[in-house]
Amino acid sequence: MWRVLPSAVSTCYTGKSSHMSIIFQIIAFDELRTDFKNPIDQSNPTRARERILNIERICNLLRRLVVPEYSIHGLFCLMFMCAGEWVTLGLNIPLLFYHLWRFFHRPADGSEVMYDPVSVMNADILNYCQKESWCKLGFYLLSFFYYLYSMVYALVSF
């Protein structure tokens, strides 16, 4: 029975929080990227305020989601470890390390974790973030089904 628990919990969590968070990220980056409405309007001074606020808001939201996402994922890994799900853990370890690296290897400017509003609009950073979130989405999706399968399998074999 105890073997089912991690799978069940992680299924729920991956299904909900991580997905939600990543999907939100993707949407957010998309919003950051698409600023074209009326190009003339875009050059307008009054639009500037709105736009900058928007960027700041999005970055704030993104930043707020970073820690929950990373910690939940860390929690999974911990549970997998406790449950002795070595295979699953092995699958998650790379991402765990990536998260650790990402979290600690941030710009020297200590006050911002990442998604700095002043640099996020640089196309290379934006591209990187966008790619990252798509990859993560894929990973979480696959792992969701894998967990589901594991849970069902565990239930059945139980």
Partner: protein, 1194 residues
């Protein structure tokens, strides 16, 4: 093109040779006949007859399309005639006078001089300006004067130029556009000077000028107006008179031309017409009513023109009105009088426009003059009747005095050159040559194909250089940017390298090729640079690509007369009706002759589409630190003095507002409301929750409250002289400033002398002095708090730019403070250990910088968008701004001294195009409250061979881009990372070149000749304050150097990184430049190594930089006239020896190109700049090369 011509011909334009036609109305056509009658002799002076004549002309054109070209020709011809006649008949004396001044050598056109330059500097700039003109490939729109005047001249010059000066296109500084840009704020004053100078000249050649001077809405002051006129106009006459000016060719050509001219003219009866009754011209107008006023004349013109107002303002100053009048109004439907009025208003607002009078007013005053003005396109001052003219001119003359005269003369030559070509053309009727200014794509590609046989330049650039063997790498003269390998037609119109530069002047076709080359791809931009000439275009519709919104530019392709193909996205767009009309030639159906298509740098006056709110006024807020520390340093007095001096020169108009705010541990506001007897100080001591004590009286209209402001500035230094308050509440003060400014936007100037210690944004000292020289990584390059960054973002959102002057003797955490400028597009100035007594060098620098700062041009609420050809994508920006979108930079303020860098990658293969284009469009509000768009377009070839990529590499641009990248790296990662990356860049290049290109199995370091200086520059970079290790460097100075790297324009940066060293004691006139009447010797560049110095020589090091010492002298031993100079002396005694004169001429020439002036020097810094030598911790150039070689063999 052929298609084009055919079309035209079919249309009946054929005679004009459509392509050129616009530009150079062919004289050959016998326009004369038609017109002669039109032109009254008195014409230039605005004699009524002439005016009428002009007006009539348009009328002619309108009715019969076929005739239209002729009319144009006639016009030009007429102008000429006028000029000639004037000169010949009236102005012989003038001629004599003029020639001498003209003597100035045309060839040596100094790079653009800063307009804003101090008033004193004014005369030189003008000179430079003129000199440059010859270079310019496209004089066309050029002369400040109106379009109109130039029209006739301009086309021909452009065409001919190539022959005269083959290199023109690439010419160093030569701005393409003849037109004078509006001077920067200070410039306005200068502008005035210019105009004055012109006016002075005018008096001499008065009659001619009058005639020719098309534009001239400057008119407000009669003298200015005349001046304005002259430039365009005057050119012709002076040029003719002064043969000496241009190369012999020009002058000779002129003469010949003249003769022909005169002959032709007479034949054509043009003279007769002149002499003839003025009224006859009026009569000539078939369509138009006799009344000379433009408004009346209008309707006869072709329908399409009527609605449209094309204002081509030659000068920025030139008002739209002038343009309208000159172009459409005269030719076709004259804009209604009301329209002209509007234009005039605009003009007045324009910075340049000195003239107050509106054309409309003039019109009402004297019908004749009006018509003249309108026709000419220049609004002549009201009192333009010939008699009046004389009088008017006279006063300016006297008032301005001779100096102005000189400038005028100088102009003359330039104009002269332009004119001469035109003459030739006319005489020769060699129209066809010119007829294909803008080749189609096919032609372009063909031209490129022709280049496939590697040109000599390329061969030279590719010559393998073994760095270990060649010791003399430096060119004798400062390095010129490489020329893009495109056809000569494109070269002529390409953007000036000073404004727009690409690291690779040959763009690799694919990312793979780029990776192979191991060179960074990027752009270096200096978009708001002070330009001497800038075509300003007013038009109802700004033609842009419908899908990518690219502005139409010289590199688009016209498929036929009605369609053009965007060069960035390749979409086919329609040519709007308005665009079909060319105000330059007043002809229809020549869209490729429009100024937008003739110049790669143009400025549009934006229509109301480009603004949601009315353009903001110029608003300046000064935030001054008055704590004990600040009083000790003593900057306040000098600041107040400087501001008092420059109060009237602050860029702005009637709406300009200023405010002051001082702070120590509290915040002091100053009520300067008009009507108070003296300024009121309001103290807010609640710094945790700052509020604004009074909303409408703190930021006051400068004009209305000038006396109070002056009072305040006089009393301010005394007010705080006894203060004992040591705390600094910078954060709250900035918050207050933000609140104060947020309704309007504008510029906040912050003076800070210590670490902020109170309230929000308080900082702690993070520097450990013992670690300054430690090699183990420099900490704290990033901000300690995001308070300043957030504040900057808020400011940026409200269109507020924050500029920081940091004058501190101790650590003040510039890394944090600089954020307030970095993200609000401000600028940072830093004066380490500033003290008004103990550090006179810094004080002097502070004063000079401040003067430049206060008077330089400024643009508000700006955005800059950079577009590039499909397939290329921009991914990283460097500079001070906020990135609002992936290709859009938000600049709360933009100033002429800030530059930007951009990194790019190649996303899709560029195989299907032979050219790659880049366009930077800067939309801003001028200090006169006008929305303007400055557009720069750069066109580069695409290549698919690695060797071609190397041949086109621009080593200076690459170095600067790498420096920017290294700075980013050192902040985001670590300094040592950044340094390694720089070294690796060299290693990569050498190994890539070795493995891919060079077939020789040479040992040693082989690089292409185009990149031979690369290792040297990188080594120099590594020894810069920003990036060096091992040497004791204060954190603030390091951070400031980093800021500089991010924002300085390339020329400044390169001088900072690798200063130019000259030997001065053996200057000779060999190979000297001839500028105006001075001879500027051109000494050879020396390597920066102590072995090049000797005890018995005098050397000059030009580190042209704002923050560092600029000129360093070493003089030892006797025998030199300036032996008395000690190393720390920054001023050169003015001795009457030839050598001394040469030295001074050379120094002046160097200095002409700088925005900020220079200060004293010290011996230690000289050796610090000898980058090729070994220092305690850094290796010498030889060692560095050895190191590279080792790295490679690993």
């Amino acid at each position: 093109m052929s298609g084009f011509t055919n079309l035209n011909s079919s249309a009946g334009y054929s005679q004009n040779s459509t392509p050129n036609g616009g530009a150079a109305p062919p004289y050959q056509n016998g326009p004369v006949q038609t017109y002669p009658s039109m032109y009254p002799p008195a014409g230039y002076y605005g004699a009524p007859p002439q005016q009428q004549g002009y007006s009539t002309i348009p009328g002619h054109a309108a009715p019969a399309p076929n005739k239209a070209p002729i009319t144009n020709n006639a016009h030009s011809a007429n102008y000429y005639h006028n000029n000639h006649q004037q000169q010949q008949q009236n102005h012989l004396p003038q001629h004599h006078v003029a020639p001498s001044p003209y003597s100035a050598p045309l060839s040596s056109a100094p790079p653009s001089q800063p307009y804003a330059a101090l008033p004193s500097a004014a005369p030189p700039p003008t000179n430079a300006h003129y000199n440059q003109q010859p270079f310019q490939p496209h004089p066309p729109y050029a002369t400040p004067g109106s379009y109109y005047g130039q029209q006739s001249y301009h086309p021909s010059p452009a065409q001919q130029h190539p022959s005269l000066v083959p290199v023109t296109a690439s010419g160093p500084g030569a701005p393409l556009c003849p037109i004078v840009s509006y001077p920067s704020a200070p410039g306005s004053s200068q502008y005035g000077t210019l105009s004055s100078s012109q006016s002075t000249s005018t008096p001499v050649g008065i009659p001619t000028q009058m005639v020719g001077a098309p534009l001239h809405q400057y008119s407000a002051a009669p003298p200015p107006s005349t001046t304005a006129v002259q430039p365009g106009y005057g050119v012709g006459p002076p040029g003719q008179t002064a043969p000496t000016v241009v190369n012999g060719q020009g002058s000779t050509a002129h003469n010949a031309v003249h003769q022909r001219y005169t002959q032709s003219h007479q034949a054509s009866l043009s003279y007769d017409s002149y002499s003839g009754v003025p009224q006859s011209s009026g009569g000539a107008d078939t369509d138009q009513p006799p009344s000379g006023t433009p408004s009346t004349s209008v309707h006869s013109s072709p329908g399409h023109h009527q609605g449209v107002q094309y204002g081509y303002v030659a000068n920025s100053g030139a008002s739209s009105a002038s343009a309208t009048t000159s172009g459409p109004a005269a030719a076709a439907a004259a804009p209604s009088s009301s329209s002209s009025d509007d234009d005039d208003e605009e003009e007045d607002e324009d910075e340049e426009a000195g003239g107050d009078t509106s054309s409309s007013t003039t019109g009402s005053a004297s019908p004749v003059p009006n018509s003249y003005d309108s026709l000419e396109g220049g609004s002549y001052p009201d009192s333009m009747p010939p008699s009046n003219d004389m009088t008017n001119q006279a006063p300016p003359y006297g008032s301005y005095g001779y100096p102005s005269m000189q400038s005028a003369y100088q102009q003359g030559p330039a104009s002269h050159t332009d004119a001469s070509p035109s003459h030739d053309l006319y005489g020769q009727s060699s129209y066809q040559q010119y007829s294909k200014p803008f080749p189609n794509l096919s032609q372009l590609s063909a031209a490129l194909g022709g280049l496939s046989g590697v040109p000599e330049l390329e061969v030279e650039a590719l010559r393998p250089v073994n760095l270990l063997q060649e010791r003399n790498l430096l060119p004798p003269r400062p390095l010129e940017p490489p020329e893009p390998n495109v056809s000569s037609d494109l070269k002529k119109v390409n953007c000036s390298p000073q404004t727009f530069r690409c690291t690779l002047t040959s763009i690799p076709q694919t990312q793979a090729l780029l990776n192979k080359a191991r060179l960074p791809l990027g752009l270096l931009l200096h978009p708001f640079r002070d330009l001497q000439q800038l075509p300003v275009i007013t038009s109802n519709t700004i033609v842009r690509c419908r899908s990518c919104r690219t502005y139409i530019n010289p590199f688009v392709t016209f498929l036929d007369q009605r369609r053009w193909k965007c060069n960035l996205c390749y979409r086919v767009n329609d040519v709007p009706d308005e665009f079909m009309y060319n105000p330059v030639t007043r002809s229809y159906g020549e869209p490729h002759k429009r100024p937008e298509v003739q110049n790669s740098t143009v400025e549009f006056i934006a229509s109301s589409d480009y603004m949601l709110r009315p353009p903001q006024p110029a608003v300046y807020l000064f935030v001054l630190d008055v704590s004990h520390n600040a009083v000790e340093a003593g900057y306040l007095k000098y600041f107040c003095e400087s501001l008092l001096e420059n109060l009237t020169k602050l860029p702005g108009d009637m709406r300009t507002r200023v405010g002051f705010l001082t702070f120590d541990s509290t915040i002091h506001f100053y009520n300067l409301q008009e009507g108070l007897s003296q300024p009121q100080m309001l103290v807010v001591s609640d710094i945790d929750d700052v509020f604004i004590p009074s909303h409408d009286s703190l930021m006051v209209n400068l004009k209305e409250s000038k006396e109070l402001v002056k009072d305040l500035l006089t009393s301010l230094p005394e007010m705080f002289s006894q203060t004992r308050e040591t705390h600094s509440a910078l954060g709250p003060a900035l918050q207050a400033a933000y609140k104060l400014m947020s309704p309007t936007g504008g510029r906040i100037t912050v003076f800070q002398t210590q670490l902020p210690t109170l309230g929000a944004g308080a900082l702690q000292s993070r520097e450990d002095p013992n670690q300054r020289s430690s090699a183990k990584g420099v900490q704290h390059l990033g901000p300690a708090t995001d308070f300043y960054k957030k504040l900057a973002l808020d400011c940026s959102g409200q269109q507020i730019g924050v500029d920081l002057f940091l004058l501190s003797s101790q650590y003040a955490d510039l890394a944090s403070l600089a954020c307030m400028s970095k993200y609000s597009a401000g600028s940072v100035f830093y004066y380490p250990s500033f003290h008004y007594i103990h550090n006179p060098a810094q004080l002097e620098k502070f004063q000079k910088d401040l003067e430049r700062y206060l008077t330089r041009k400024i643009g508000f609420e700006a955005v800059m968008r950079i577009r590039c050809t499909k397939g290329l994508s921009i991914h990283t920006f460097h500079g001070n701004f906020f990135v609002r979108s992936t290709d859009l930079l938000s600049l709360a303020n933009v100033n002429p001294d800030s530059a930007f860098a951009v990194q790019m990658s190649i996303e899709d293969s560029l195989a299907d195009s032979s050219l790659a284009c880049f366009q930077a469009a800067l939309l801003y509000t001028s200090s006169r409250g006008k929305r303007r768009i400055r557009v720069h377009t750069l066109c580069l070839p695409v290549v698919n061979q690695l060797s071609d990529v190397y041949a086109g590499a621009d080593v200076q641009a690459i170095t600067c881009l790498l420096a920017n990248m290294a700075i980013d790296r050192s902040v985001s990662s670590s300094l040592s990372d950044a340094r390694d990356a720089l070294v690796n860049a060299v290693v990569d290049l050498v190994s890539a070149y070795k493995s891919n290109v060079s077939n020789l199995q040479q040992s040693g370091l082989v690089v292409p000749a185009s990149m031979r200086l690369f290792p040297l520059y990188i080594l120099a970079l590594l020894k810069q304050k920003a990036l060096r290790t091992g040497t004791s460097t204060r954190l603030d100075e390091r951070v400031f150097a980093m800021c500089e790297f991010k924002t300085q324009p390339l020329q400044q940066l390169m001088r900072m990184v690798h200063p130019d060293l000259y030997r001065l004691d053996n200057l000779s006139d060999q190979g000297a430049l001839h500028l105006n009447d001075t001879v500027v010797p051109q000494p050879h560049l020396l390597h920066l190594s102590a072995e090049r110095l000797s005890r018995d020589g005098a050397f000059l090091m030009d580190c042209g930089n704002v923050s560092f010492q600029d000129y360093l002298f070493m003089a030892h031993s006797a025998g030199l006239m300036f032996v008395s100079l000690c190393e720390t002396q920054s001023h050169i005694p003015e001795l009457e020896t030839p050598l001394s004169e040469r030295v001074r001429a050379f120094l002046d020439w160097l200095q002409d190109n700088r925005a900020f002036s220079y200060d004293a020097s010290a011996k230690a810094t000289l050796f610090q700049h000898l980058v090729e030598d070994q220092s305690e911790v850094a290796s010498s150039y030889r060692d560095f090369l050895q190191h590279i070689q080792q790295q490679m063999s690993k």
